[in-house]
Amino acid sequence: MELEEMKMLWGEMSAAIEKQKKSTDTLIIKMTQVNYRHRISKIAVPEKISAVVCAAIIIFIIVNFQKLGTWYLQLFAVLTVVILGALSFLSLRAIHKMSSINISANNYKQTLAEYSKGRLQFMFVQKLSFYLTAILLVVSLPVMVQLIAEKNPFKVTRLWMFYAVAFPFFTIFARWVYKYYSKTTRQIEGLLKDLEE
């Protein structure tokens, strides 16, 4: 169907729509109430919960820091705190950027550009989070074994078995994550380039 044919059919459809039943006053008023929430805010809920959990773990490690007797466990603890803090901060910032777009003041081009940039940033954070989480697993487990079980982590055989089993799975998943994000990022970058023309 060519554009002119499309226009003709669209006109017929528009005329038919005008004759159809309209929404009632009550239904429209219900829609204006805060009963319905923006989708981004729904994505933000698990991110906010994660941030609270991260903050609790950070506090737990800081409070019990003196129980870590060796320099390498202390180093792992510092790395755990830094990674947890960075993950929460970056993720919340990216979501805030996407949700703070001014829908009523912007035109379509501005909204599309801001939203695409926000998505790019969010995807970068997600990709980064994936790799940081892998490092986090390696560095946080010995710290937690020491603090919670109060055992020397390097004498816990199950800990080493966990690393051995998790490593191949992580490698396969990491490749998939890289491919997925690269493809989507290219599409968004293409769109941004198109907007600049």
Binding site: I17, S23, I101, L112
Partner: protein, 160 residues
């Protein structure tokens, strides 16, 4: 200051506009319902700042299209939307199978375009002039013309 009753009348008078935007930007009835309500909600939020010097439909298209972009297409949540009557979501059910089939093809062709092209073609089909499209989208009128030319070519390629 605009009243709620005034807003309800504006929505009722221009419901077709919301219907067409949601149809173009979604792929399922559930998403359609979600987006429809989000557009109404965003329109209500901005209604107080609407100045009568602009055309009401220009303002509505801008909000509706902006909302459609920021409305993520899939997953995550099942929102607590207001239940809508099926007939309000099936405004083009005419009983004419051939016509409905043609409309399905028409929507499918538009959905294959990227978000920039989708908005321009939607406004063009709505009978907007290049200048009006330019005001809503933020591109210049000349750029709108150039892009429409490219879209025509793209649609021809899609057919072939």
């Amino acid at each position: 200051m605009h009243s709620k009753q005034e807003f309800v009348s504006v929505i009722q008078e221009n419901e077709g506009l919301i219907y067409k935007v949601t149809k173009v930007y979604t792929n399922s009835k559930e998403d359609e319902q979600d987006l429809h309500q989000e557009i109404v909600y965003q329109l209500w939020k901005s209604f107080g700042s609407f100045r009568n010097d602009a055309k009401i439909t220009t303002w509505m298209y801008r909000i509706a299209l902006n909302t459609a972009i920021t409305h993520l297409n899939k997953e995550k949540r099942r929102s607590n939307h207001v239940p809508m009557n099926e007939s309000l979501l099936n405004k083009t059910d005419t009983g004419d199978n051939l016509k409905e089939e043609q409309l399905e093809i028409l929507y499918a062709q538009i959905k294959r375009l990227n978000p920039v092209e989708k908005a321009i073609v939607l406004l063009y089909l709505e009978g907007k002039t290049y200048e009006e499209i330019a005001v809503i989208t933020g591109f210049t009128a000349t750029n709108v013309g150039t892009r429409l030319g490219r879209i025509k070519q793209k649609i021809i390629t899609q057919i072939n």
